[in-house]
Symmetry: C2
Subunit: 373 residues, 2 copies
């Protein structure tokens, strides 16, 4: 069985490794190869908006999925015309890619989200800002990730600058500041027939608008965890996703959960599952898109902590610092095989499992700190 995967980044890499373990073949299509899928199945590099190219890519694939919500799934669906399953489908991606549409869909489904207004004009944005009170968040409708495409508006004087920077032809999303106590995340794997499994609730810590650490399980009250999992499932059902979806959540001071945003694919906050869960998010993504029975998402260890390894310079990747990191016991090091390193670029991650979050954290942080690619 051959799985076609649109995209060639680290998520594709980890999907590929999970696929091979189960005896599946993988073929990646990516507009430019940075290295992560080199040496894993086949990687085809070319213009993925070219129908002829997409057609030849799909030849021999039994199912096609993507590791990026920006993949040309619409075009692909047209081309395969039902002959090959494509998951997640374009209607799911359309509902998720546009931040305004995504939030609206979630709110319409009755899910708790921060207050927001889709603002078509500068005047709308200014008035929404005034009604929410400072600070507010301006978010670009398209293409934002890891803090890019977002701006915190703290005074009236920030409004115009944020608008100019982020507004697209249809405006900008203006969102009330949610004074959360913690950011949580839940992975949900869902099949086309609606069956799904839910991963444990994890805590995600940001540094400089980028995920730094993931703590599994999150040290939240049981009622909060239960509510987070319920809301995550409902959010995934609201967009009818198939595959794994990363659901980012806010935990409010009173224990309420708000949905922050969805990613229709394996997610950085789910990497811990490779070592820590009976079935990783990557394996369950594959099982879901193939239509196979979903695997047990529960933890097989008491605690796990994942720390991202970011680039600190521009240049070629080096593994010179790896031996020092490898001295840290019970830490698993994942490098993404990117040929070049850039400041803040996600180059790898470390997951440590242990009897307690604090022990896992020390190991993972120490190992990650040693890695200078």
């Amino acid at each position: 069985m051959r799985i076609g995967i649109l995209g060639g980044g680290q998520l594709g890499r980890m999907l590929g490794l999970a696929a091979i373990r189960m005896g599946l073949h993988v073929r990646f299509l990516t507009p430019s190869s940075e290295g992560p899928t080199d040496g894993i199945g086949e990687t085809i590099i070319g213009d993925w908006t070219d129908p002829a190219f997409l057609t030849s890519f799909t030849d021999g694939c039994d199912v096609v999925t993507c590791e990026s919500e920006w993949a040309p799934i619409d075009l692909l669906e047209e081309i395969v015309d039902g002959r090959i399953p494509v998951f997640p489908g374009s209607s799911t991606l359309r509902a998720i890619r546009h931040k305004g549409r995504q939030k609206t869909r979630l709110r319409e489904a009755g899910l708790p989200v921060p207050e927001f207004v889709c603002c078509a004009t500068l005047e709308d944005a200014a008035s929404a800002t005034q009604s929410f009170g400072f600070p507010v968040l301006f978010k670009a409708f398209r293409g934002s990730y890891d803090g890019y495409g977002n701006a915190t508006v703290r005074t009236e004087g920030d409004v115009l600058g944020a608008w100019d920077k982020l507004a697209d032809r249809d405006g900008v999303l203006v969102e009330a500041w949610a004074p959360f106590v913690r950011e949580l995340a839940v992975m949900v794997a869902r099949r086309d027939d609606g069956k799904c499994v839910v991963y444990p609730v994890v805590e995600s810590e940001q540094r400089d608008h980028r995920c730094h650490a993931v703590l599994a399980p999150a040290a939240v009250a049981q009622s909060v965890a239960a509510s987070a999992r319920e809301i995550a499932i409902a959010a995934v059902e609201a967009v009818e996703a198939v595959g794994v979806v990363g659901v980012e959540l806010f935990e409010m001071p009173d224990g309420r959960i708000l949905v922050n945003e969805l990613a229709p694919r394996p997610h950085n906050t789910g990497h811990y599952s490779i070592e820590a869960c009976h079935t990783s998010q990557f394996e369950n993504h594959l099982r879901a898109v193939i239509g196979w029975p979903l695997g047990d998402p529960s933890l097989r260890v008491p605690a796990a902590v994942m720390i991202n390894v970011l680039g600190h310079r521009d240049g070629e990747t080096s593994v010179a610092s790896l031996p020092e990191a490898l001295t840290i016991q019970n830490a698993s090091i994942h490098l993404y095989g990117k040929r070049s390193v850039k400041p803040r670029r996600k180059m790898g991650h470390v997951t440590a499992t242990a009897d307690s979050l604090s022990a896992a954290r020390v190991a993972a942080e120490t190992a990650a700190k040693h890695i200078r690619l």
Copy 2:
């Protein structure tokens, strides 16, 4: 960094997956490809006894290792002439490949082994048989594995047949029957500087002379486990192995441990370590041959059971039965990507982790039973 691996079977496949995770590149050399390393790094197929071919294979490799003790390491060492590290070295393989030499080396190092005699003639074999008393084991000096190359001699009438079947130009190994209560195994990872780490003692159950199940940890007395680990380290030191060595042991009724045999590479009885240990045997083999710090071999779960998936027919591999196996929770399925299936051929394995050996065993056995490739 590029690792050259001689051999292209399932051990190479799992070494390759571990290597990629750490950002290493792998290149396999194999006389014929059966599928397992397809789509993992590069696989070069050709005559590995051809010096020119071996030379071009080693170009660009930073270290070379093997996944089979039958790889032409002698020739390779000559070719690279110290320019590239080659582990395990030919002196280790020479000490292990020949069953008589292996047993003699272990006995000379003061290690407990079953009584044996290297018999150059039929008369020697008959006389050794008589002195041990029935039953005895006849073992071919070269090329035996998984019950092939062994014969149990129960009466005087069996001697000639066993000799004719198994004796090489230098005779045959005649071994006294060891009335063991359990077969145990221990993986040891050792570096060139002598540093080593030892995996937990596991129990290995055979069916029809072939490993069926591995139980981790073995339910043995602490003193037995301690002695097994000590003896395993001493055995690996006796052959100066670098990399992972699988040490097969017998537990005798009085708790004594005998060494059965060594495999100078990751071993079937160590596959459980992928899910169950902080560092898998494959990762530690790579770390050892590169000279990197060795990782924590301890269990990260209370218990794990591995069950081998064997072929039951001749033909092309099919994954049709996989969905049924995937319904078994907390079982991880590994298929080796072999293009053709044969009766008794090792096609994959299942590892389940759980709070108890009995729970892990039920899950692993049930999942494995469903897989009909």
